[in-house]
């Protein structure tokens, strides 16, 4: 089980960074929730979450965000970028990092699957903890998702192997250990995974008995 990493501790500064208005656009509710929780624990209480682009224009104007976070799989990223330049949509112009020295942060963000935009003139030190938290939570979600996928396919494979073993035991009169051993040897000889062999065996059996 993947543990959600401990929240980044942000020392509250005299200047109210915690008052920064953060808009998170993410259609994945779980990832959104863990990001929002992390930001809140880090002292950023002013977080709005949108899980779709409907009515984004009006809402962006009302929210007047300092920072906007969007996942890279969202096809509306181009829409968003154009909105940020139009003054009747946003009160203050918003741009992605234009500072060359932030390339490392941008790369980490791209790697984690997220992009962030900040309002013009906002000092990047104030935004840094938000970005770090976002990148960290996106990575954690990715790890969680990969683990879930892996667990699911392991479970599926286990079921297939059980069934294939059963078929071998029944049709060839083998005991359980011998049946499994046969599957494993076949997998090694054919340089395939044991789950694939099991699947092939089951398909063949279904076809033949028809």
């Amino acid at each position: 089980m993947v543990m959600i990493p401990n929240p980044v501790t942000v020392l509250p500064a005299a200047s109210p960074s915690s008052d920064l208005r953060i808009l998170v656009i993410d259609e994945n509710p779980i990832r959104c929730a863990i990001l929002q929780a992390g930001l809140r624990e880090a002292g950023f209480a002013n977080v709005t979450v949108l899980d779709n682009m409907t009515g984004l224009l009006d809402r962006i104007y009302v929210i007047d965000p300092d920072v906007v976070v969007i996942d890279l799989e969202n096809p509306s990223r181009d829409v968003l970028e154009q909105m940020f330049q139009v003054s009747r949509i946003v009160k203050r112009p918003i741009a992605m990092f234009v500072d060359q020295s932030d390339r490392a942060t941008i790369e980490a963000a791209i790697d984690a699957g997220v992009s962030a935009y900040i309002v013009d003139g906002l000092k990047k030190e104030r935004v840094r903890p938000i970005l770090d938290m976002t990148i960290s939570r996106f990575r954690a979600f990715d790890a969680m998702r990969a683990e879930l996928e892996s667990t699911r396919s392991q479970l599926k494979e286990r079921k297939l192997i059980e069934r294939a073993k059963g078929l071998l035991m029944k049709t060839k009169g083998l005991d359980e250990e011998a049946a499994y051993s046969l599957l494993r040897r076949t997998a090694m000889n054919q340089n395939r995974r044991i789950g694939e062999i099991a699947e092939s065996l089951i398909s063949a059996y279904d076809l033949l008995k028809m």
């Binding site: 181009d78 829409v79 154009q82 330049q85 139009v86 992605m96 234009v98 941008i106 791209i110």
Partner: protein, 432 residues
Amino acid sequence: MTTDALHNGDMPIIHAGFIPLTDSAPLLIAKALGFDAQFGFELRLHREVSWANIRDKTDHGIFDCAHMLAAMPIASTLGLGRAPVPMIAPMALNLNGNAITVSNPLYAAMANADPEATRTGGMAAASALAKVVRARQARGEPPLTLGMVYPFSCHNYDLRYWLASAGIHPDNDVTLVVIPPPLIAEGLATGHVDGYCVGAPWGAVSVINGGGHIVATKHELWANSPEKVLGVRMDWAERNPGLLKPLIMALLTAAQWLDQPENLDEATHILAQAQHVGVDAALIRRGLAGSLIRHPGGEPGADADFIVFHRYAANFPWVSHAIWLLTQMQRWGQITQALDMTAIASQVYRPDLYRAAAQELGLSSPLTDMKAEGDGQAAVTGDRGDIALGEGRFFGGESFDPADAAAYLRSFAIRNGPAELLPAREPHLPLC
């Protein structure tokens, strides 16, 4: 990170990003038919959902090269709206392929206002639209909203040119918004947009589901005009000359293959696959064959040059095309300072790299880096024989001389900002 060719066994790997559009075909075909291996490298394709992703991942070396809108390498090099990253276009991937589609209600209004112009389509259709725009303004109705795919795109510039030709100001008389292709049909259906300019096969989608009419194709506006290029980071190109040339050769081979009518079936099959363009094969096929259906329930037309992959020197990165793009970027206020258009265009569009690759394939390359538009030139002189140019329509009888781009830029009545730009200063954010 993948720069400098991590090797897979004995073959270097080149990572390429693409957007699921018909004109990404040269990359898809080069991979599917093994032209990459033929020229000694492995092409790894990465499907993306936004131009912002293509831009960022190429900027940061996650992609070595990408399927890009013709103006993107220029915008990156100039640092429009973000830190500059020098990008080059050593070849173009195609010509044409875009279409302007309007909703049923808007089409009905246009047909009512000017049935002849609407039926004719192309440049003429803009004057029908202008009548609708003026009528709406007189009645105090909100402006029409038109969608395009990205600010630094020919979709944007061609649409604006078309509107302006009929006296419509693209920012004052209508509203232009960015809309991603997969959301277009829905946008039209919900009335979020009244029309849009998008690349194949998406232009046809609304027509097929009965939601709109194609009123103009890119080819009708400016025949055989630039659309997509191969974008490559300049520093990658400089560090990997031994990879760039085979890459161009493989893509040139794919482009030639795509222009052969006998390959239509196979091309359709490959493009329609889910990991490629992933759209209904019939739509893709009609685009490739140029047999577009422009009206719901209508008959397919016949325009063999609706999208062009290789003929008419389609893959040559004309410096004059880059100059034209720069004039439009300045016209609309994306660039607010004067600049040396020829110098910038020559820095980004690289015919020298194209010629080196074409030569090895025995293909003829144009002798000059620039050509005028709308001057009726039927062919260009090539180093191995003349190259036919195809039709020469240029926005309803206009012309463009790249040698006097400044005069061309000053000539536009409808624009954003003054005719004379400020002298060059610091980078800036684009306005639209």
